[in-house]
């Protein structure tokens, strides 16, 4: 049964889908919406999912596409962007406190990375996909996956070492 397959194979992926979209969209609310959309799309396709070889990678590809669409459409909504900047400023105190938390410091550095590097780091270091899977999901070749991964890791580490040297903690 397709719906049974959906609840055993797809629903457990919702956390991964959520984490990936949150990494790409940098917003909890937007990530929740994206997750819901992706799960709904998978639900509509549930009859054909049996034929998909790597369902996890398939779901991740779908999530990536969804998030890129959201990001694209967001660039048109300048008004909304201004608004979100404003709320960020107002909560500067809480973000200051947050920045002291060493672990969320890492989150901040990852956030500062280019989109593609963020995606690669998320898929490899958090979700532990193989390089081959990442190539398929992001549509990159093996060299560019490795390069993006290396750049992202080096960048995060240099930032981390910098803060440690300055003693800002």
């Amino acid at each position: 049964m397709a719906s049974e397959f959906y609840s055993t194979e797809i629903l457990p992926l919702q956390d991964k889908i959520f984490r990936f979209s949150r990494r790409l969209l940098s917003s909890e609310t937007a990530a929740k919406d994206a997750t819901q959309d992706v799960l709904l799309k998978l639900w509509k396709l549930r009859d054909q999912l049996n034929e998909v070889k790597n369902i996890e990678a398939y779901a991740m590809t779908m999530t990536k596409n969804k998030c890129y669409d959201v990001i694209k459409s967001k660039h048109h909504k300048t008004l909304e962007l201004v608004h979100s900047n404003y709320t960020n400023e107002s909560s500067s105190l809480s973000s200051q406190i947050e920045a002291r938390d060493e672990v969320s410091l890492v989150a901040k550095f990852i956030e500062a990375l280019p989109e593609q590097q963020r995606a690669v780091i998320q898929l490899r270091d958090i979700e532990q996909f193989s390089n081959k899977e990442i190539e398929d999901i992001l549509g990159m070749n093996s060299t560019s996956v490795r390069v993006a991964l290396s750049r992202a890791r080096k960048k995060i580490m240099s930032e981390l070492k910098k803060t440690a040297d300055y003693g800002i903690r």
Binding site: S3, L11, Q14, D15, I17, F18, R19, R22, E28, K32, T35, Q36, L39, L40, W43, E102, V103, L105, V106, A107, R124, D125, I126, E127, Q128, S130, V145, R146, V147, A148, L149, S150, R153, K154, I156, M157, L160, K161, A164
Partner: protein, 143 residues
């Protein structure tokens, strides 16, 4: 499990170059989440601890899926239509029965009234017999 610093350094180097395998990265994760890592690697510890914590994040929303459309929903619709039709029919039947009962009551009332009239009429008729006898006698005498 005891780790040699040199080995860890080697793994970290591979890691930064993007050359490490998933297994080697798992080893690094295990090493840093054990809590017994060398102070020299404390920045790396932050990174791997973050990854570890992050991979446990759960989707806070609830998944809303469209209601499953199957034979059952059609059967439900059919059943409710049947029930509605049945209820309507029963209602109409009830109304008709009430009308019939009212008509019967009215009929009985009229019948009673008519009976009463005819009874009184008969009483009147009895009195008329005297008149008849009187006129007979009168005719005999006048002949």
């Amino acid at each position: 499990m005891e780790y040699d610093n040199k080995y860890i350094r080697h793994l970290l180097q591979l890691y930064e170059e993007g050359e490490s395998s998933l297994e080697q990265e798992k080893e690094l994760k295990a090493y840093f989440s054990s809590g017994h890592y060398d102070e020299a690697f404390k920045e790396y510890a932050l990174l791997f601890q973050f990854f570890e914590a992050e991979s446990g994040t759960q989707h806070p929303g609830e998944v809303v899926l469209p209601k499953q459309k199957s034979r059952f929903s059609w059967m439900n619709i059919a059943a409710s239509i049947c029930i509605i039709i049945g209820a309507l029919w029963f209602y109409q039947y009830q109304v008709e029965q009430e009308k019939l009962a009212e008509a019967r009551v009215a009929f009985e009332k009229t019948q009673n009234a008519l009976n009463l009239i005819s009874l009184n009429m008969n009483k009147g008729l009895e009195k008329l017999e005297y008149v008849e006898v009187f006129s007979e006698k009168k005719n005999e005498i006048l002949k």
